[in-house]
């Protein structure tokens, strides 16, 4: 459940994050200021509050019925999008400006420059930060325990409360579960970095 939710939120957040990050970088003020304000405010709110908003209060205000799972996913995606906007922005800004100049001098249009020159390099540079954010998001998916969704954390608590004799064992199992998945994610992101030849500062 955690993994499913983390995967969905990561992908949605990535989409939203790219949009927000690009908007924040644009020179047009009507795009720049709303995106910047949104990202700053969303980063300043705890993730738990965001999840509460989207899962519980938004349906009340809009008068619609929203399944709890999708409300929580929406909340975490908004949270993820704000953080990923920053990552995207940092990645794009880290591409040496000479590349863009060379590309324009070679006759590529701005869109082609962005697509063919800036994006691949920016993507490689933001991969480490993105990986650590993915791990952090996976851990944050346990927050949805507060709105009532049963995830690994909640399952462990339920088990431990049903069998008080085995409480410590239940907690240790839960911890092991998280630990194993996080370690797997960390190692695989490290491998991914090595394989994609992330450029080091030269």
């Amino acid at each position: 459940m955690n993994i499913l939710m983390a995967a969905i939120c990561l992908s949605l957040g990535l989409g939203g994050g790219v949009v927000l990050g690009l908007g924040r970088l644009s020179h047009r003020n009507y795009l720049h200021w709303p995106c910047a304000a949104w990202v700053e405010v969303t980063r300043a709110i705890p993730a738990l509050l965001l999840v509460f908003w989207c899962a519980i209060f938004l349906p009340t205000v809009l008068g619609r019925n929203l399944p709890l799972f999708w409300g929580a996913v929406l909340g975490l995606s908004v949270h993820a999008a704000a953080y990923q906007a920053e990552i995207v922005r940092a990645g794009i800004l880290a591409v040496p400006k000479g590349q863009v100049d060379a590309a324009i001098a070679s006759g590529l249009t701005r869109m082609q420059t962005a697509r063919l020159v800036v994006m691949p390099q920016a993507f490689r540079m933001m991969l480490p930060t993105f990986g650590s954010f993915a791990i952090s998001l996976f851990k944050d998916t346990s927050i949805v325990y507060m709105v009532g969704i049963v995830d690994l954390l909640q399952a462990g608590v339920i088990v431990s409360q049903r069998q008080p004799n085995r409480m410590l064992a239940a907690y240790v199992c839960m911890a092991l579960g998280f630990f194993v998945v996080c370690q797997i994610m960390t190692r695989s992101f490290g491998l991914l970095e090595k394989k994609s030849h992330t450029p080091q500062a030269q």
Binding site: P46, F57, I143, L153, Y171, F178
Partner: protein
């Protein structure tokens, strides 16, 4: 889409019992934040220094601690300390802990400290390692003992380097105090939930709480940036003083 199915009533936050709960929530949130920040700074620095010592046992223990804590969500530690820890304490201390009326807050402080100190120790360690190696060697050659090296030479310079990520971590810690409602510590988010369950007017109160978190986080971020700028100049002055005092050439 039909209109908003909700009548806003913004005075709910100021009515008699609810405003008390909100204020208590504010106090507890700040208490949690300051206690965990200070404690995790101390513990994190201790862990970082342990990881850098030559004694294998210390560095392995500290390294394992940081790895484990970083792979587990903070909510786990909160639940563990509130539910499981009193059970595993011997001699009936657990019963006394459970009966203590402020135990949620204490458990929250302990759990958040443990969670935060792992990240802080990584930041401190990175800062200590980023100090130019020449400083350490010069300090050794001047005959300073290890603790003197750390106190007078390495830490002051490391603080300047590690201040940005440390500031981010502290703001994250502040936001994490909202997790403590899982163990019913009476902090701000918990107060809003209580009001919401009683009056069904949670929207206004949560909006206020959100504005509060947002404002404090933005203020904290701003003040950390100003602090960084001031410390940069001051630490450089100090470093040059040490250089002149001890005749260290870098």
């Amino acid at each position: 889409m039909s209109g908003l199915h909700y009548n806003f009533d913004w005075s709910i936050a100021f009515r008699h019992p609810y405003s008390d709960w909100l204020l208590t929530g504010l106090k507890v949130t700040f208490l949690l934040f300051f206690a965990t920040s200070i404690l995790s700074l101390c513990l994190g620095t201790l862990l970082a220094v342990m990881r850098l010592t030559r004694i294998r046992l210390f560095s392995i223990v500290a390294g394992a601690y940081v790895e484990i804590v970083r792979s587990i969500p903070g909510l786990f530690w909160l639940l563990f300390f509130y539910f499981a820890f009193p059970e595993i304490l011997p001699f009936g201390w657990g019963g006394r802990l459970n009966a203590c009326i402020d135990y949620p807050i204490i458990a929250g402080i302990i759990a958040l400290t443990i969670n935060n100190s792992a990240y802080v120790s990584d930041i401190v360690r990175a800062g200590l390692l980023a100090v130019p190696a020449g400083q350490r060697e010069s300090a050794v050659s001047c005959g300073l003992s290890r603790s003197q090296q750390y106190l007078h030479v390495l830490l002051p310079q490391a603080i300047r380097i590690m201040l940005p990520p440390l500031g981010t971590r502290m703001i994250h810690n502040f936001k994490n105090t909202s997790l403590c409602i899982a163990i019913s510590a009476p902090e701000l988010t918990w107060a809003t939930q209580q009001i919401e369950s009683l009056t069904f007017r949670g929207l206004e109160v949560t909006a206020l709480a959100t504005a509060f978190y947002c404002a404090v986080a933005l203020i904290l971020g701003y003040s950390f940036r100003k602090l960084e700028k001031r410390w940069q100049a001051r630490i450089q002055n100090n470093a040059s003083w040490i250089t002149r005092q001890y005749g260290i050439l870098d």
